[in-house]
Symmetry: C2
Subunit: 379 residues, 2 copies
C-alpha cells in the first residue's frame, strides 16, 4: 500500500511515493520546474502548486503555462456499438456531433447521479475518447458494455493530455505546430504532427484563460514535446503550471469529487444545459432525469462570496446556514486577489439560492457572512 | 481540481488538500498523532508514515498499532440477486461460504484481468460487503448489475474500517470489546456493541502481525472508538500506525495498482489458489481464466532479493534483467532491517522464475544483482 517518502520536517505532511500514484510522461519536467505540491487524480500525480497558489494564479492570467494533466485519462470506445454506447452514457444529445468536436458530457448512473463530468472527443463515427475527471469511469463503461453484450472495445489507451493555458498559449503552440493551430475553434480538435506522430490538439482546458489540450500518445515523445513547448514559450515567460484553485472557482469550473458526486444530478450541478434528456433516447438514467427536469432540482450550485480575511483550506464541506439553519454547503473556496474577496462554489437549497440572499458559512475559523452571487466571477 | 497547501520548504513535495481527497472519521486522531505522510487511496487520505518507515515497522512487529484504513471503502450488495452477483464477480467458489466469514476474492473483468483484490464479508445470504483495494469497484459492479438488470442494490455505505494490528492487538481490543473477541477465528467476523451501535469485527488486516479490522458505521463514533482503543492500548505502548511498506513486502501482501493491474490475471499474481474457475459457475472472465488455468501463466509474482545498500523509493516499475534482457519488473521494494537485505515483489517470466535464479534489477541508482527467492520473508 505505501512507499517511502521524501525527507521532511515533521511540521509538514508529505505525499508518500509509490507506483500506485502513477508518474506521467511529463513528471521529469514537472520536477525540474520545482513542483511544490501534488494532488492525486485518477491514480496519477497531478501538480498542484509551483511558486505559490497566488503567484501561479497571477502568471496564468497574464502569460502562458504548461500543465501536466496526463491524469485526465482517456477511455476509448471503438467498434460498431461505440456510438450507441456513448449516447447511453450521457443525457446530452449527441446526434448532431461531428468528428473533430469535443462535448462536455455529464455521465450519470441509472438514478441520474453524477459519475463523472468528462469531455468526449468524437474521433470517428465508431471511435471516441472520453477525457475523464477523477473517478474510474472505465469500470462503469466496461460493466455496462459487458452486461448489455455490446459490440465495442472499451479500454484506457496510453494517451496523456498536456495543456497549454493562458493568454499567450496560442502564440506558443503556433511556434511548435504552425499557424494552422489558430484556426481551431473552441471545443474543436484537429490533428498535428510531432516527431512523426499524429497528435489531436483541442482548444479547451480547465481554465478560462484560453489555450489548448494536446493529446500525447505513448510516453516516448512526452519530454521532447514538453521541452519544445518550453523553448517556444521562453519569449512569453512560459512556466510549468497546473489547474489553479483560485482561477477555477472564479470561473465556476466544477471539480468532480469536490463540488459534486453520485449524490447529485446534473441539474443540481447547474449542468441542465448539457442535458437533452427528452431527445437523448436510450441514455441511462433517463427516467430519473426526465422527472428531475420536469420538477427542477431543489438545491443547486451557486457562486457564493464569503466575507472577511482569506479563508483557510477548504478540505471538507463547510455548512451554509441561514438564521442558524443549514441550507447548503460550500465545497471549494479561495481568496481571490483580483476580486478582493473570498470566492466559493456552494450548493444551496432553493429557498435560499436567489442572488443577493444573505447566508452564513461555517468555516474552520468561524462563521462568516456570505452572499449568493448572480454569476461566477470570470464569466 | 486543487486546494491550498500546508506551508513547506521548497525541497519537499506536499500533498495539496481538498475535499476530493476525503478526510476520514479518524483523521483528527491521525493528525494529533503526528502523521508525516499520506497517500491517497480510493479518493481518501491514508496515513503512510508516522515516526519513520523503519520505526513504524519495528513498533508494528513488537507492539500494537491503530490504523486508519477508512479508505478500504465498502461496496454493499443487497437484495434477491446479491449472492448471484457476488459469484459473478469472482472466480473463487463461494458456495461453501457462510455468514460471518471473510473471503479474499480476486475480482476480474471478462478477459480475466484484475480489477481489484478485496475481502468480501458475507453478512447474510442476501447481503454482502466488499472491502475494496484502490479502484472504483463500485462502478464496475453497478455497471454489470445495470446491464444485466439484476435485482440488487449496489452502494457505498458509510462504513469505515479501523484496524488494530500487531502482536498485542488482541489484548488491546479485548479491553474495549471483551474477551469474546479472542474467539474470532482468522478471516471470520462477529458483531460487537460500542456506544449503542453494532460493529462487525473481523480477525484480518493488511499485515502478518495479527489483529483485527473493525467496521465502523457512520462518522459519529469514529473518534470515540479511536480514543477508547488508544486508552485501552496505553499499557501496551499502542501508537497510531499504518500499512507499512517494509512489512507488507516481507509478507508478500500484494498492493493493487502497485504490484498488479488490469494487465494481470490472478494466476500471474500468484492468486491461483483463490480461483476455482471450474466450479465458479457464472463468474465473469470464466472462459479466459479456464484457458489460463489450463496453460498456466507465463509470468508470475515472485519474492526477489536485491543486493547492496538500501534501495531508493520504488515509485515506478524497475526492469528485471537476465544477461541484459528484460524478463520482468519489480513493483515494490524496501530495505528490511530484520532480514538485512532489500526485499521486493517482482513479476518474472517463466524462463527465469525458479527460486535461486540470478537476475539483475535496474534501480534508479544502478543495476544490481538480485535473486529469486523460494518464499516471502514473513511466511
Amino acid at each position: 500500500m505505501t512507499g517511502a517518502i521524501h525527507s521532511a520536517p515533521s511540521a509538514t505532511v508529505n505525499i508518500a511515493r509509490s507506483h500506485r500514484l502513477r508518474r506521467t510522461p511529463f513528471t521529469e519536467g514537472v520536477e525540474a520546474a520545482g513542483v511544490r505540491a501534488y494532488t492525486v487524480y485518477n491514480h496519477m500525480l497531478l501538480p498542484a502548486v509551483f511558486a505559490s497558489p497566488q503567484e501561479d494564479y497571477r502568471h496564468l492570467k497574464e502569460k502562458v503555462q504548461l500543465w501536466d494533466v496526463a491524469c485526465e485519462r482517456q477511455v476509448e470506445l471503438r467498434g460498431p456499438d461505440a456510438g450507441r454506447l456513448m449516447q447511453m452514457l450521457t443525457p446530452r444529445d449527441l446526434r448532431g456531433m461531428l468528428p473533430g468536436q469535443c462535448y462536455y458530457v455529464p455521465i450519470v448512473d441509472e438514478t441520474g447521479g453524477m459519475l463523472n463530468d468528462p469531455v468526449a472527443l468524437k474521433l470517428a463515427e465508431d471511435r471516441w475518447w472520453i477525457s475523464i475527471a477523477d473517478s474510474d469511469l472505465l469500470f462503469w463503461i466496461k460493466g455496462v458494455a459487458y452486461g448489455l453484450r455490446l459490440d465495442v472495445l472499451v479500454d484506457e489507451p496510453d494517451v496523456s493530455p498536456l495543456a497549454v493555458q493562458g493568454p499567450l498559449a496560442e502564440d506558443t503552440v503556433a511556434e511548435v505546430f504552425g499557424d494552422r493551430i489558430r484556426d481551431i475553434r473552441f471545443f474543436r480538435f484537429d490533428w498535428f504532427e510531432f516527431m512523426g506522430r499524429d497528435l489531436a490538439i483541442a482548444r479547451s482546458g480547465f481554465s478560462k484563460q484560453g489555450g489548448f489540450e494536446i493529446y500525447v500518445p505513448d510516453t516516448g515523445i512526452g519530454m521532447p514535446l514538453w521541452n519544445a513547448l518550453m523553448e517556444a514559450g521562453a519569449g512569453h515567460d512560459i512556466r510549468a503550471g497546473c489547474p489553479n484553485g483560485i482561477e477555477r472557482v472564479e470561473s465556476g469550473l466544477l471539480s468532480y469529487g469536490n463540488d459534486m458526486s453520485r449524490e447529485n444530478t446534473p441539474h443540481e450541478c447547474g449542468l441542465g444545459r448539457f442535458c437533452n434528456t427528452q431527445t437523448a433516447i436510450g441514455c441511462i438514467g433517463r427516467d430519473a432525469l426526465l422527472r428531475v427536469a420536469r420538477e427542477g432540482p431543489i438545491r443547486q450550485i451557486r457562486p457564493i462570496e464569503i466575507s472577511g480575511d482569506p479563508v483557510p483550506i477548504c478540505d471538507h464541506h463547510w455548512p451554509v446556514q441561514a438564521k442558524g439553519k443549514v441550507v447548503g454547503r460550500v465545497s471549494s473556496a479561495a481568496w481571490s486577489p483580483d476580486f478582493n474577496t473570498n470566492v466559493s462554489i456552494g450548493m444551496v437549497r432553493m429557498t435560499h439560492w436567489d442572488p443577493g440572499t444573505d447566508l452564513e458559512v461555517v468555516t474552520p475559523d468561524g462563521t462568516r457572512p456570505a452572499l449568493v452571487c448572480n454569476e461566477f466571477w470570470n464569466s
